[in-house]
Symmetry: C2
Subunit: 276 residues, 2 copies
């Protein structure tokens, strides 16, 4: 057998999310069908992050074990073959040989997510699929001060979507920052402020965690709560105290980090935790 | 009566184009329906440029004459009312009072179009709706040299789509340039080269003219023809000599210029010419 590490980018607008569903087209389903076309038999891929409907990826990582018969297909040819049968809004960026033990989810050491916010009176029609448009003025300094509380190891239960309990809700936020991006190329509508980008890197994320943090930061940015409320919400472990879940279209899975290894992935430490 | 000048931006992906068609949703139809909802009676709008299906606009301009009864609605309230009933991928940027004689098409003095090209091995999934992905290496200097021939007054018959003859095919290209844009915010796939942007400003454009020029420039950039071929194609007035019509999704109507006037538009000179 051969284990492949597949890095892909996709526009999630048209899909039900990463994971196969009873109805609708999933990214996982598309990728599995494309691999089956190459391999001549069914394949099951595992994704590092289960992105929801409308959520995008710049660097999702999937692992798959295929028959060794395909070993004759070099990795770069595999990229071309996959892209030839995938729709244009799903692109494979790289295919790499991985060690037998490589698992896109369990081998992951950290993930980085980005949440994009546009501001101002009239939203750009070119950002409606890729950002949350917030019309209220936002105090970015207050949002940055609040975000400080999320750094490091915390119990993030207050930011876990209800109805999907995970026993262990402790995660480590390795990096958290808010940056203001220059006007995107396609940004055409006069904005009162540049794009706001929330970027979080952590060992793992609970379901809807990034979006719940984004929604809470917007409440603080609007002045509904002081920056200190973020620490209080975390300490409460109560989802009802946090802000609303921000809409999916602003969220991007940016990258997944794995420990360096000669074969790109044999890892003993299965400690990374999953979620979006 | 009251004549309004409406500036709008739209993502053309989901639409049949600017103009009302027998089947499908048009931008014109959406705007007319939104105005009718405000005015309580049917309205007919005129667009400065008849963008095709899949073509976008950053600054399309439309004119409409409405009953004076609506005069109580201030322009900024009109913007909000229109946007409230338009889909998110069509946004009204401004509504202004125009003089009685203002006509979005006939009063226009110049239009600017932009055509976006992405390059490299794997296209970004986030550019598939907004650019033409060209995999061949392109000689940008050769393209720039060729574009020189398009500047000024010429008979552009060679760049007019077949089957839609216009008697007078002479137009004046006021500005023409090719720029390389920095990587867009959402550009995630490693590109071998930055985005290429062709920007043309002219007194008027024939149907498919920008796309035929873009398609011809790519043939020259690929090295199929020398830069001098552009002048020869223009002189031939023969559509069959020019390159293919570039795909619609790379094209943007950027802006429409009108002579300055106290009321924003009463113009006697109806010399601007239409087309895409």
């Amino acid at each position: 057998v051969r284990t492949l590490k597949i890095t892909l980018a996709y526009d999630g607008t048209a899909y039900v999310g990463w994971q196969r569903q009873a109805a609708g087209t999933s990214i996982q389903g598309l990728l599995e069908a494309a691999i089956a076309r190459i391999e001549g038999e069914a394949a099951t891929v595992t994704g590092a992050g289960r992105t929801d409907a409308g959520v995008h990826a710049l660097g999702q990582v999937a692992s798959v074990t295929v028959p060794s018969a395909s070993s004759s297909i070099a990795c770069d040819a595999y990229v071309r073959a996959l892209n030839a049968s995938l729709p244009e809004d799903v692109r494979v960026r790289a295919v790499e040989e991985a060690g037998d033990g490589f698992h896109a989810r369990f081998s992951a050491r950290a993930k980085t997510y980005r949440y994009r916010l546009t501001r101002g009176g009239v939203a750009s029609p070119f950002e409606s699929r890729y950002a949350w448009h917030v019309t209220h003025p936002l105090d970015v300094s207050a949002m940055r001060a609040a975000l400080e509380a999320c750094r490091g190891e915390h119990d993030f239960a207050a930011f876990q979507s209800t109805g999907t309990p995970v026993r262990d809700t402790v995660r480590t936020m390795l990096a958290a920052r808010i940056t203001e991006a220059p006007t995107p190329t396609l940004q055409v509508v006069e904005q009162s402020a540049p794009l706001l980008i929330l970027e979080l890197t952590g060992t793992g994320f609970l379901r809807h965690m990034v979006r719940a943090i984004a929604g809470t930061l917007v409440e603080i940015g609007r002045g509904r709560w002081p920056p200190s409320e973020m620490a209080a919400i975390l300490a409460s472990r109560d989802r009802a105290r946090a802000g609303p879940t921000a809409p999916p279209q602003g969220l991007f899975l940016v990258s997944v980090d794995y420990p360096a290894s000669p074969l790109g992935g044999v890892v003993e430490d299965h400690s990374a935790r999953n979620g979006v």
